[in-house]
């Protein structure tokens, strides 16, 4: 196995996440794209950890932190989307123009 096959797969997933982030209207689907991007970042970290083989498995520890933060982000993000839906009857990000001057 070469290192680049993992890194290129991660880059591909990340770019698909960027596409979804830009093109989706529904806020839940935007969050799904963000999850895809975070998974790509985790692949990167684990692949480079497998390459360098640090004594403390630093890359994997960082990936554990990213997974935790991602879980917190989903919880808060969905709560905010829920509140916005309750107030505006819509969860489309292009209809949320309250803070536009």
């Amino acid at each position: 196995m070469i290192l680049n096959q993992f890194l290129i797969l991660a880059a591909l997933l990340f770019c698909m996440g960027i596409y979804g982030l830009l093109v989706r209207r529904n806020a839940v689907m935007v969050l799904l794209s963000v999850e895809l991007m975070l998974a790509a970042v985790n692949i990167n970290l684990v692949a480079l950890e497998a390459f360098w083989q640090t004594a403390e498995a630093l890359g994997q520890i960082l990936a554990v932190f990213i997974i935790t933060i991602a879980a917190a982000e989903v919880g808060i993000g969905l709560a905010i989307i829920l509140l916005i839906f309750r107030n505006r009857r819509s969860a489309n990000v292009d209809e949320l123009n309250l803070m536009r001057w």
Binding site: M1, I2, L3, N4, Q5, F6, L7, I8, A11, L12, L13, F14, C15, M16, G17, I18, Y19, G20, L22, V23, R24, R25, N26, A27, V28, M29, L31, L32, S33, E35, L36, A39, N42, V46, A47, A50, F51, A55, E56, A57, Q60, A63, V64, F65, I67, T68, A70, A71, A72, V74, G75, I76, L78, A79, I81, L82, L83, F85, R86, A91
Partner: protein, 184 residues
């Protein structure tokens, strides 16, 4: 490492199959017009990611991914989809913006840039030092030794996110409802 050597290694075929499945389901996550389908394709993409972790000898992380993501986060997503009545029909205009070309250009340009950077930096560097796998005790010693402070902080962040999520999402009672609740 030449192409013949690469093809001759059986693990690379496993990688190819897993990478293909992951890419296809990742693509469906961002293009499916149905939110529930998108969430379920995310399950497939994350399962592929977990398989990649197994290939990279990160067993603990692979099962953390399966438990935390596929087990918990996706369920949270499905609840969010049900509660916000996200579009589940086939009406594409509902789900995506009309102008997709800029998004395609941005992501393709970013991928080209990343590809160029990765190929010029790593070339065909082999990944041959993967041995039996990472013992979980190494991760445990790291998390509860050198990284114990960030570990506690991230636990606190999770707690704060939990409390914040409940506070944000709970419905405030109207004054009439509150009075009714106090005097049944």
């Amino acid at each position: 490492m030449g192409f013949e050597d690469w093809v001759a290694e059986p693990l690379n075929w496993v990688f190819l199959a897993v990478a293909l499945a992951t890419t296809v389901s990742g693509f469906r996550v961002v293009t499916s017009p149905n939110v529930v389908h998108a969430a379920l394709f995310l399950v497939a993409a994350l399962a592929g990611t977990a398989a990649i972790f197994l290939l990279l000898a990160a067993e603990f992380l692979a099962w953390v991914l399966v438990l935390v993501y596929i087990g918990a986060v996706i369920v949270l997503f499905l609840f969010g989809i049900m509660i916000t009545r996200a579009p589940t029909g086939r009406d594409e205009a509902e789900v995506d913006h009309q102008r997709r070309l800029p998004a395609v250009l941005v992501s393709a340009a970013l991928f080209a840039l990343l590809l160029w950077g990765l190929l010029s930096q790593w070339g065909d560097t082999t990944l041959d030092r993967i041995t039996a796998g990472t013992p979980t005790s190494v991760l445990a010693e790291g998390l509860l030794g050198r990284f114990v402070f960030p570990f506690e902080v991230v636990g606190f962040v999770l707690l704060a996110a939990l409390v914040g999520g409940i506070t944000i999402a709970r419905r405030d009672l109207s004054p009439a409802e509150e009075k009714e609740r106090e005097s049944p």
